[in-house]
């Protein structure tokens, strides 16, 4: 079958079972958009900014586990998408992002809307391609989907010059992938696994340290079983929220900068850290020289480069977490004695009773933590939660009752403000049955506010809950604590009327000052099932606590701070 390069792209997407593409057309990618117009196999969602197209594809991928697809044009279309690529790279999100490029004859001439796209995306993608012959397109696209979704997942960028999309060539998608230089390790080394289980058996104060890899490798079920079987307490990172149920008696919340006292004390006191798909991020470890000082470390990761990158590991195991945990359980079932860890579990529970995650209610001010807990009470498992970046993000991680993996969709590694709303659109498209809630701040929401149009036009009812304190709250919190209260450029007293803004795009808006008003607004928004903005006026000076100041030790937490 001889078809054009543009048709090849469509055929490849169909062969990969793609049901949704997020994108934005432009000059260099028009041939492909012409073919999109002619087909009925997948839907295309026009976002109102290329960055949003990539974040929406991320939301789609994170909630479904499938590869997200975004399409953009050359030059500014591509550069707008770079933040999304970088975000997906940091959080290991499987994406295929296809960009148009100026025709081959114009490459290198500073042509209109030309930019060295693969040069820019090289450092923020798992892999990238510039296609210089339509003959290569079937192979490249097939490899792109495979590379994006295998091993440690990540974004793959495919740049296609306009004349290549017009070139007519044979299309054969059946040729198997043959990548001599790329073979991710799936099965863990059995001897290493045995050694690691024996170390668990010998340990007195072991601790599971669960990371985003547990979610990426669909290992939540296995991890839940393993934790239950061993009776060993567990902390889960921000990226791993929902791996264990919020009410699992062995889960002691999140460690790190805004982790719980108990989680951070457990991290400091453990004698054997069992890291499952976590990467020892600086926001988790705090001061390295004081981190897990008394502990041997088991590290299971699909990416060998993650092992011993930050801390020296005693039992490295490279492999897919699901496989490795299954193997560990097989060996552990006959050697591990739960009772051994009971005194340790008691002391961890004692830490938790000493300083549980908490906040102080105020009779005339709404507390953001209450709002998040309330969403949890009203919607619980029925909602997928996305967040933007800042205080609201940390409060969400601390106070929402997550009960399943892929329930929290957020920008962890890159910390991209403006991620939440477009991601929530992608989440809703992939999982239409559940309510899609974007918990955001009054700073973040304005960074991709134009997506109101996408959501309204395509009838994608995302509910934005804006925890509005008229501040860039997280930066203000740092300014208060570390810059002698000099609130440089963080006071956002001047904000739009979010109700009118929602209305202007055809959505619905609410202003909320009290608990009763919040319940009424959220219930109404869920019932009406349309795009909504709930502007929640919260206590302006609430801070995220506890806190490990940047570069401090985990066991040295600031537990309370009253700003005003």
């Amino acid at each position: 079958m001889k078809i054009s390069g543009a048709q090849m792209v469509i055929e490849a997407l169909i062969a990969e079972n793609v049901d949704t593409v997020f994108g934005y057309p432009g000059g260099a990618i028009m041939n492909i958009y012409d073919e999109i117009y002619k087909q009925n196999s997948f839907k295309h969602i026009l976002t109102r900014h290329e960055q949003a197209a990539v974040h929406a594809a991320e939301g789609y991928a994170k909630v479904s586990g499938k590869v997200g697809v975004a399409m953009i044009t050359s030059g500014p279309g591509f550069t707008n998408a770079v933040t999304g690529l970088a975000d997906a790279y940091m959080d290991s999100v499987p994406l295929v992002v296809i960009s148009g490029q100026v025709p081959m004859s114009l490459i290198g001439t500073d042509a209109f809307q030309e930019i060295d796209a693969v040069g820019i995306s090289r450092s923020c993608t798992k892999h990238n391609y510039l296609v210089t012959d339509a003959k290569d397109l079937p192979r490249v696209l097939k490899e792109a989907f495979y590379i994006a979704s295998s091993g440690r997942p990540g974004p793959v960028h495919v740049d296609i010059p306009k004349d290549i999309t017009a070139q007519i060539e044979v299309f054969d998608y059946s040729t198997p992938i043959h990548l001599e230089t790329y073979k991710p390790t799936i099965k863990g080394n059995v001897r290493q696994i045995k050694k690691a289980v024996m170390a668990i058996k010998e340990a007195k104060r072991p601790l599971f340290y669960i990371g985003g890899g547990a979610i990426n490798s669909n290992a939540a079920q296995e991890v839940r079983e393993f934790v239950k079987m061993t009776g060993i307490p567990a902390v889960e990172t921000f990226m791993a929220r929902g791996t264990l149920r919020y009410d699992d008696p062995l889960l002691i919340s999140m460690p790190g900068m805004h982790g719980s006292y108990a989680a951070n004390m457990a991290m400091s006191e453990t004698d054997l850290m069992i890291s499952l798909g976590a990467r020892f991020d600086d926001r988790v470890t705090g001061k390295l020289s004081e981190f897990a000082k008394h502990a041997k470390i088991i590290h299971v990761d699909v990416d060998p480069a993650s092992i011993s990158k930050i801390v020296k590991v005693d039992y490295p195991i490279v492999g897919d977490l699901r496989h490795v945990v299954k193997n560990m359980m097989e060996i552990a079932s006959s050697v591990i004695e739960k009772e051994r860890y009971e005194p340790w579990l008691e002391s961890v529970e004692h830490f938790d009773k000493l300083h549980p995650l908490s906040y102080k209610e105020d009779s005339d001010k709404l507390k953001p933590q209450w709002v998040i807990q309330r969403v949890g009470e009203l919607l619980g498992e029925c909602a997928n939660i996305t967040t933007d970046v800042g205080q609201h993000q940390m409060w969400t991680a601390q106070f929402y009752p997550f009960s399943r993996p892929r329930q929290l969709i957020s920008s962890g590694g890159l910390g991209t403000m403006g991620f939440g709303f477009p991601a929530a659109i992608g989440v809703k498209v992939a999982d239409f049955e559940r309510v899609s809630i974007n918990i955001t701040g009054d700073g973040s929401i304005l960074m991709n506010i134009q997506e109101l149009m996408t959501a309204v036009e395509k009838k994608i009812p995302v509910i934005n809950i804006i925890l509005n304190n008229n501040f860039l709250g997280m930066v203000r919190q740092w300014q208060t604590l570390f810059y002698d209260k000099r609130h440089s450029e963080t006071d956002l007293s001047m904000q739009p009327d979010f109700v009118m803004l929602a209305k202007a795009f055809g959505g619905i808006g609410y202003v909320v000052h009290t608990k009763e008003e919040f319940d009424a607004a959220l219930n109404d928004a869920v019932e009406k099932n349309i795009v909504a903005m709930i502007d929640v006026r919260i206590d302006r000076f609430e801070n995220v606590m506890p806190m490990v100041p940047s570069g401090g030790s985990l066991f040295n937490m600031m537990l309370e701070y009253k700003e005003k």
Binding site: V118, G119, R122, S123, K126, H127, L130, T132, I147, L179, E180, T181, Y182, D303, P304, A305, S308, K309, K312
Partner: protein, 156 residues
């Protein structure tokens, strides 16, 4: 941790922009490149890079792992017992005594490879440290130009 010198060979698919992938990795992650040599491997679709680098043992371990992680990389060899050579070309003015320079060259397995109107060129291929000694030795002849290559290495 103390910095150590390492010679690393990388076998990569010989395709467009593969060299940038390697150098971007080094610059992006703040690793050092002391020298870098690259050429296609005859009768194969691969190229071989020889990179001389330095860093703490942890950094060296990360370098090899991160190199391995690049999709077009087939093999990463961290040399511990290798034959290493690099090459230098030096241009002298013919005001100098050719025979004096030739004598020094031969002590370093080198020779005069070209001569023209008012100049002659010497070539040496030797180990890095010996190369430094050679360059010290010829300094008094005021070389007009010196071109030094990167290292190539082959494990014994």
């Amino acid at each position: 941790m103390e910095a150590v010198r390492r010679v690393i060979s990388v076998v990569v698919l010989n395709e467009a922009s593969v060299l940038s992938r390697i150098t971007d990795l080094f610059s992006g992650r703040g690793y050092n490149i002391t020298s870098l040599t690259v050429a296609p491997i005859p009768k194969s679709k691969y190229s071989r890079l020889t990179i001389v680098t330095s860093g703490s043992m942890r950094v060296i371990e990360q370098i090899t792992k991160q190199l391995h992680k690049l999709i077009p990389v087939l093999k990463v060899i961290e040399h511990c017992d290798a034959v290493e050579k690099e090459m230098v070309l030096v241009k002298f003015s013919s005001d100098n005594s050719i025979s004096d320079i030739e004598t020094i060259c031969s002590a370093y397995n080198g020779k005069i490879v070209n001569a023209g109107d008012g100049f002659f060129i010497a070539l040496i291929a030797d180990e890095s440290q010996r190369m430094d000694n050679f360059l010290d030795a010829i300094e008094r002849f005021h070389p007009k130009e010196i071109v030094r290559s990167g290292t190539v290495a082959l494990e014994r």
